[in-house]
């Protein structure tokens, strides 16, 4: 056995730090230069091409109609995702049920809603009044109490919520199911051995652990939903894209308004990404020995922590002071 430190007359001398010439990477420099040139060209055209109409983008960026469109887009995303997540959990638990009727109907639902384009589903809900002009609430095959005209009940916004939410439920159920299956069977068994019911086990033990697997793809779905909600423009919901379209159909500033909408989509996506990071971190409790620092903590640590410089010469240290 070789000791890590050399003993010299009772004094510990730490081993000399390695000083070597690092490997050079000329390829990296060439690639970096190439990328820099391309970026410079892109920035140049953004600034010098007058057809971008940056002043138009600036004047419409905070305009009332664009901001209202943005609000509708966010509302559509939040409500459709909420429906999708609740429906997804229900469908996933049904799919894993021992009852063949429940798991079968969940399978058929997923098969149908994943198998048809979401645009077709939106148009279908929008035109529901053709199939059912009257919608009524009552006893099945019996008398009904509440009647409503389908055209006034299924507004374009309601049709968009239904179309996007029901479609999302099918995708979310597969994500939730994968999460539930990722939790070791011993966990449910230990909970049951303590006398916990199946519902309680699912809620307190399995789902919180499944969240670690469920959150990243759900963040993905939310971002995807934000953009998919622009499909609602075809059924005359004045969300962000349709609001921009309404403006450029009058003033013909097509590209500047599309850029305006795109910047807003990018901003909201960035906010969602940051939110996802913190939710993931919350559910990582217990999965790692120590939670990774948040970006803010990392910045503070690098700014305010004093790093002592490594000693230039391996100096002699008092006995027992070194390792």
């Amino acid at each position: 056995m070789t000791p890590r430190t050399t003993e010299t007359a009772g004094q510990t001398v730490p081993p000399e730090e390695i000083k070597a010439v690092p490997v050079r990477h000329p390829g990296r420099w060439v690639a970096a230069a190439l990328v820099l040139v391309l970026v410079a060209m892109f920035v140049n055209t953004l600034l010098t091409n007058p057809r971008y109409d940056w002043d138009v983008i600036g004047s419409y960026f905070f305009s009332r109609r664009i901001l209202e469109g943005l609000a509708i887009t966010i509302l559509l995303t939040v409500v459709a995702m909420a429906i999708g997540i609740v429906l997804g959990v229900i469908l996933a638990v049904m799919r894993l049920s021992a009852n063949p009727l429940l798991s079968g109907s969940s399978w058929v639902y997923i098969w149908f809603f994943r198998g048809t384009p979401v645009l077709v589903q939106l148009l279908f809900w929008f035109n529901l009044a053709f199939l059912y002009p009257q919608i009524s609430l009552g006893v099945p095959f019996g008398p009904s109490f509440l009647h409503a005209d389908a055209n006034s009940l299924i507004t374009p916004f309601a049709a968009a919520i239904l179309g996007l939410g029901l479609n999302e439920g099918a995708y979310m159920s597969e994500i939730v199911r994968a999460g539930i299956l990722s939790v070791e069977h011993g966990q449910a068994e230990a909970a049951q051995a303590l006398g916990m019911s199946r519902g309680l086990t699912m809620r307190r033990i399995v789902l919180p652990q499944a969240m670690r697997v469920i959150i990243p793809p759900t963040g993905n779905e939310t971002i995807s939903m934000l953009k998919t909600s622009s499909l609602a423009s075809v059924i005359t919901v004045t969300e962000l894209l349709y609001a921009a379209q309404l403006i450029y159909s009058v003033n013909f500033k097509t590209i500047p308004l599309l850029i305006t909408a795109s910047i807003w989509y990018l901003i909201v996506t960035s906010v969602l990404t940051a939110g996802q990071y913190y939710i993931e971190r919350h559910y990582a409790r217990g999965a790692a020995r120590e939670l990774p620092p948040t970006p803010w903590q990392r910045i503070r640590r690098t700014l305010f922590t004093f790093h002592p410089p490594p000693p230039a010469i391996p100096s002699q240290q008092p006995p027992g002071g070194g390792r």
Binding site: E184, G186, Q187, E189, A190, A191, Q192, A193, L194, G195, M196, S197, R198, L200, R204, I205, P208, Q209, Y283, R285, G286, A287, A288, R289
Partner: protein, 265 residues
């Protein structure tokens, strides 16, 4: 079925666990082929045997985690999984089964601690959610149990931050928090580093001294000899031999027991 003719044991008296002609199969594979077993109150019974002999399945049957196919099984004088009225057996509802499981503690080979909860939360979860115990009272009880397991300063640690031995001691505290009348141990030290086995066996020894009824599936012959009141050797889904640990270990009557012990001792 001869078991039906006999008088069932009385709750609160008689043996804690009584099995008669117990059978369990998974599909075509019969894992338990007629088990007769009796565990008295306060008794520590160790079960040994080769893997696949049905030891774990027997424990899981006692805790309602598996349904038995034939025979009768009583815990504390009550049928496991069924209610008998006259000659008819009625399956228990989920709520009734949960209530029975809550009275039986179980410790697993792989610990199965809840990784998203601290050691304290692992112990308080079931008393709060199943028994409806107030949170402060559950925390007091958990602190006391963790202290007894020598883990007072680990209450706020997550399972990943604990050694295997510490995790298993938390798991024992978690089971004890439900104040069970019977504790089942399914190879509690088999997944541990040899160095850590002792600390877990120590906690189990204390528990046995306190008068807890325990059924321990184990390969620790030393523990079985010192702490066990009875030793059961199982093979091929039947009890081959049972008796006082000293007698079974030093003077086995069956050839199968002799050949098993010659390999493990």
């Amino acid at each position: 079925m001869s078991a039906a003719a006999r008088t069932p044991p009385i709750p609160g008296a008689g043996p804690m666990v009584l099995a008669e002609g117990l059978r369990k199969s998974f599909g075509r594979l019969e894992v338990l082929s007629g088990i007769d077993l009796q565990v008295a109150r306060g008794e520590v019974v160790c079960i040994i045997g080769p893997s696949g002999s049905g030891k774990s399945t027997l424990l899981r049957c006692i805790n309602h985690l598996e349904k038995i196919n034939a025979g009768r099984l009583w815990v504390d004088g009550e049928l496991v999984g069924y209610r008998q009225q006259g000659d008819k057996l009625y399956e228990l509802r989920e709520r009734e089964i949960c209530a029975k499981r809550a009275e039986i503690g179980m410790v697993f080979q792989q610990f199965n601690l809840f990784p998203h909860m601290t050691a304290l939360e692992n112990v308080t979860e079931a008393p709060i959610r199943v028994k409806g115990m107030p949170k402060t009272q559950a925390a007091d009880l958990a602190t006391q149990l963790l202290d007894r397991a020598g883990l007072k300063d680990k209450a706020s640690a997550y399972p990943k931050q604990l050694s295997g031995g510490q995790q298993q001691r938390v798991a024992i505290a978690r089971a004890l928090a439900m104040q069970p009348k019977l504790m089942l141990f399914d190879e509690p030290t088999s997944a541990l580093d040899p160095e850590l086995v002792g600390e877990v066996l120590g906690v189990m020894r204390d528990l046995a001294t306190s008068g807890m009824t325990m059924i321990v599936v184990t390969h620790e012959m030393g523990f079985a000899r010192e702490v066990g009141d009875a030793l059961v050797f199982m093979d091929g889904g039947v009890v081959v031999e049972a008796g006082r640990p000293r007698d079974v270990l030093s003077n086995p009557q069956h050839e199968r027991t002799r050949s098993f012990l010659s390999k493990v001792l």
